[in-house]
């Protein structure tokens, strides 16, 4: 029964020229690649129209108005901490004229109505609010219009004699009021008006206001239900032991009989790349899974879903650095070669960043149940219901419509819950439910999660900067060698183009450096790579903005003033820099004396996901370690829905960025991951948490993303501050690898 997990999504496998031992690799290009293309500037989109349904328009698909006065939103998005449920209630409630506090919001089942991101449905890319802001306002307004027309018929009055008041239609002339709940049945039978009027933003009660989050009480009292908390009647609990080397299979279980004799054990099972134990409790299943003495096949060569016995992070990095492969152009402006030929000074530096785990605090789990009617029902954490549904259907051998999918609240995600081949437990749950004939809940222990979590790719870029006689940069060249998740999973750049998720943060920078030559070499990893909060920006803005300071130093320029100067035609960016400087009490680089010793500051900018950020960090040395005292972040997402949630998201992204800067790296050695749990994969704790000061600037530019953009400015701001303090340029993260002396 060794069905191939992971490869089931590989609808097309294309050979790609790598080097050394990474010769031929595959591209996962599932059905979603058809639609993800629509998100990207080029090449022209291949988005398919999704049936006759125009996503985001049919009121009954999104809104359930109960006769009891309840309001439920079926959201295209899944809540995982980013506050989208509250945002949805604000967007719909404002136009519907219902207080957002009255809404219950849940993630909708799969269906074409919810493909609101250019024909695609996902919770990611910091797309949720900006993709649905106008759609959901219009939907709320459409619903309100339907309710008013139903009321007009009921009351036998003209619609324009009616108004609404927080869930009621009001006929002022007669003082009569009808609750939405009493009108909903009639209203939903009416044909919607095409061009409903939207509310004048000057009259907003809830949009743009710090409306309280809908979920904080449930989350403060243990009542919020996550995938891991789900239970269905008669289910077995399953624990797994994954093969230590990705791509190997169990060949024997020496103590299988003894395992079966352990208390509560139902069965011992072989899965692709793992063994599983089913039992009447998860703890019993886990004990047996850990006790299993499994012989595994020999590690194969590096390849699609396989990691060789000699694979290591240092070797991978060395291979990226040594690559002489022909690059493709990611950005070209002016004549960089000519500028270098005339340069007064040339600066060169290599930057790299490690593999990172997501470390979301909820370990992944999935429940699979085959129902009597032949359907398969799943409860699982996911950021993309339709993709999981289609992969599940393939795994189970069912048509897609026979798969019922529930998408519970996520205990953190940060990019963790896309389909990552061997990196998700749901296919294991399906196979085990099929084999046992019972519902099965698979839960990965934290250790098993560390074995199979998909990782932010280890990354590398080589920089050259030309400095003119006046000390200003005249040209910049960057060679980026690596692989991004859009290329891996959605086929972006598969036909020889650029994978934007590998170069974002290096291209499209705002600075007026007249000659630019950015190039990209696609270099696939055998590792299961991932989207990780802010994706390519998570390392590339660190690389670029730290190198920017190196260019400033080489030309004897202050890094803040040089940024201001190179942004003189970019008022939006200048305003952010001025704002962040003012927030921090005026720009000063240091080192300067402060309480407890010398401190210094660094500045960085980033343009992630349609938003703009400017960040300043203040650091000191605490013994041999860097201590970050304060982060000031000026954040311009154009316009916003909820300032309180926006601030929380920027704080949260900053904390994750700092965690990656200071501590995080998942190292491969001998083909094996060297981290197993939070004791050997330290993440940011309270002891290292700085003060985070956030100021939102609403420039009125098109709405950008919120969940991720707070992150990318933090690593370079910190590293630039460290350079100012210690004179040392840190070109490889995390900082914990570097030894400082105070």
């Amino acid at each position: 029964m060794l069905a191939k997990i992971g490869q089931s999504t590989a609808l097309t496998i294309k050979p790609i020229e790598g080097i050394a031992n990474l010769s031929r690799r595959g591209v996962l290009a599932g059905a979603a690649s058809l639609v993800l293309g629509a998100l990207l500037p080029a090449p022209p989109t291949r988005a398919q129209p999704v049936g006759p349904v125009k996503p985001g328009t049919r009121v009954p698909a999104f809104l359930v108005i109960g006769k009891d006065g309840s309001f439920k939103i079926l959201s295209p998005f899944v809540e995982g901490g980013q506050g989208i449920n509250t945002g949805m209630a604000q967007m719909i409630g404002e136009e519907l004229d219902v207080d957002p506090a009255r809404f219950a919001v849940e993630c909708a089942p799969p269906g074409p109505d919810y493909a609101v991101i250019n024909g695609l449905r996902m919770t990611g890319g910091s797309f949720s609010t900006r993709s649905s802001y106008m759609l959901m306002r219009r939907l709320g307004a459409t619903a309100r219009d339907l309710l008013m027309r139903a009321a007009a018929t009921r009351l036998n009055v003209r619609p324009d004699s009616l108004a609404t008041d927080d869930g009621q239609v009001v006929h002022a002339a007669s003082g009569r009021r009808l609750a939405y709940g009493d009108l909903a049945d009639d209203a939903m039978k009416l044909a919607p008006t095409e061009d409903v009027m939207l509310r004048d933003p000057a009259t907003f009660r809830w949009l743009g206001k710090p409306v309280p989050r809908l979920d904080v009480r449930a989350k403060s009292t243990g009542k919020a239900i996550y995938a891991i908390d789900q239970k269905v009647e008669g289910m077995l609990y399953a624990a797994v032991q994954h093969a230590p080397h990705l791509g190997t299979e169990a060949t024997a279980i020496a103590n299988e009989a003894a395992l079966k004799a352990m208390p509560g054990i139902h069965g011992v099972h072989r899965l692709p790349g793992a063994i599983a134990i089913t039992a009447n409790s998860w703890y019993r299943a886990r004990k047996a899974a850990e006790a299993a003495e499994v012989a595994w096949s020999a590690p194969p060569a590096n390849g699609f879903g396989a990691i060789a016995a000699d694979y290591s992070s240092p070797r991978m990095l060395a291979a990226l650095k040594a690559s002489t492969a022909q690059a493709i152009t990611a950005e070209k402006e002016g004549d960089a070669e000519a500028a270098f030929a005339k340069a007064a000074k040339v600066v060169e530096a290599d930057y790299d960043a490690p593999y990172l785990a997501h470390g979301q605090l909820e370990p992944p789990s999935s429940i699979a149940r085959f129902n009597a009617d032949g359907s398969l029902e799943l409860w699982l954490p996911n950021q993309m219901p339709e993709l999981f549904q289609s992969v599940a259907a393939e795994t189970a051998g069912l048509p897609q419509e026979k798969v019922i999918l529930h998408s519970p609240m996520l205990g953190g995600f940060f990019g963790r819950h896309f389909v990552y081949g061997p990196g998700n437990p749901f296919q294991q749950a399906i196979l085990l439910a099929k084999e046992t004939g019972k519902p099965v809940k698979v839960l990965w222990s934290r250790e098993e999660e560390f074995k199979r979590d998909a990782l932010r790719p280890l990354s590398f870029s080589r920089f050259r900067g030309a400095i003119g006689a006046d000390g200003k940069p005249t040209a910049i060249q960057v060679r980026t060698v690596g692989e991004g998740p859009l290329g891996r999973y959605f086929g972006v750049g598969a036909n020889g183009g650029v994978d934007s998720s590998a170069v974002e943060g290096i291209v499209e920078k705002p600075y007026a450096i007249p000659n630019r030559a950015m190039e990209y070499v696609r270099f696939p990893h055998p590792v299961t790579i991932a989207f990780w909060r802010s994706v390519g920006h998570s390392m590339n803005d660190y690389f670029y903005e730290a190198f920017f300071d190196e260019m400033a130093d080489a030309g004897k320029q202050d890094p803040f003033r040089l940024r201001m100067e190179l942004l003189k035609d970019k008022p939006r960016h200048r305003q952010l820099l001025e704002t962040v400087a003012a927030m921090s009490g005026g720009w000063k680089r240091g080192p300067y004396d402060a309480e407890g010793g010398k401190r210094a500051r660094g500045v960085a900018m980033a343009s992630p996901f349609g938003s703009e950020t400017a960040t300043i960090a203040e650091v000191s040395l605490d013994g041999a370690e860097i201590k970050v005292h304060d982060l000031w972040i000026a954040f311009d997402p154009g316009s916003i829905v909820n300032p309180a949630i926006v601030k929380s998201q920027v704080e949260s992204a900053a904390a994750l960025g700092l965690s990656a800067t200071l501590f995080e790296e998942l190292v491969y050695d001998g083909g094996l991951r060297q981290s197993h749990n939070f004791d050997d994969y330290p993440i940011l704790s309270r002891a290292s948490m700085p003060q985070v000061h956030v100021e939102i600037v609403e420039s009125g530019a098109p709405m950008g993303g919120v969940g991720e953009p707070g992150l990318p400015g933090v690593p370079p701001a910190v590293v630039n501050a460290v350079a100012a303090l210690t004179g040392r340029r840190i070109r490889s993260l995390p900082l914990s690898k570097a030894k400082f002396s105070s």
């Binding site: 995982g80 901490g81 980013q82 506050g83 309280p212 989050r213 979920d215 904080v216 009480r217 449930a218 989350k219 403060s220 009292t221 243990g222 009542k223 919020a224 239900i225 996550y226 891991i228 908390d229 239970k231 609990y237 208390p263 409790s281 998860w282 703890y283 019993r284 470390g359 979301q360 605090l361 909820e362 370990p363 609240m409 205990g411 953190g412 995600f413 940060f414 839960l443 222990s445 934290r446 250790e447 309180a644 929380s648 704080e651 949260s652 904390a655 994750l656 700092l658 965690s659 749990n677 939070f678 004791d679 993440i683 940011l684 704790s685 309270r686 002891a687 948490m689 003060q691 985070v692």
Partner: protein, 148 residues
């Protein structure tokens, strides 16, 4: 068969003596507010109160509980200090994904029991629970608010 006292109710539990209290609470008693995060007492998501002390239940075997009174997040609002902590958590909008927050609330309640007016240093020393959303500063603000 072990007998444990949880949130004022006595339960007879059929589980091996070494079974961590966490799994008894979650899978046997259905009290899923207490979370599994790491299983090695690193993250604190599984924190409960045992005789008023914060304990990481993933490392507390069933037979180590004895006759002690266990309180979980499900009954935290019935504790006067716990009630204040929850109200402060709501007012400060501490949770984001929320997964670690049961444990944070329990740890904060234990801290305030012992130290009614904690300093920042007290909070730093006592509140070692991990939060991947980075809500640490709001946790501290909420503890100060609950302390009044």
């Amino acid at each position: 068969m072990a007998s444990i006292q949880v949130n004022g109710t006595r339960y007879e539990v059929d589980a091996e003596a070494e079974t961590p209290l966490l799994w008894v609470l979650r899978d046997t008693l259905g009290l899923t507010g207490t979370k599994y995060g790491c299983g090695i007492a690193q993250c604190g998501a599984c924190t409960v109160l045992i005789d008023g002390q914060a304990v990481r239940s993933c490392q507390m075997p069933l037979d180590g509980v004895g006759t002690s009174e266990i309180r979980t997040i499900e009954a935290i609002e019935q504790d006067p200090i716990g009630h204040k902590v929850v109200e402060a958590w709501v007012a400060q909008e501490v949770p984001q994904c929320g997964y670690c927050q049961s444990g944070q609330v329990m740890a904060a309640t234990a801290l305030l029991r012992q130290t009614p007016k904690p300093s920042d240093a007290d909070i730093r020393d006592a509140m070692t629970n991990l939060c991947r959303c980075g809500t640490y500063n709001r946790v501290a603000a909420a503890i100060h608010q609950a302390a009044g």
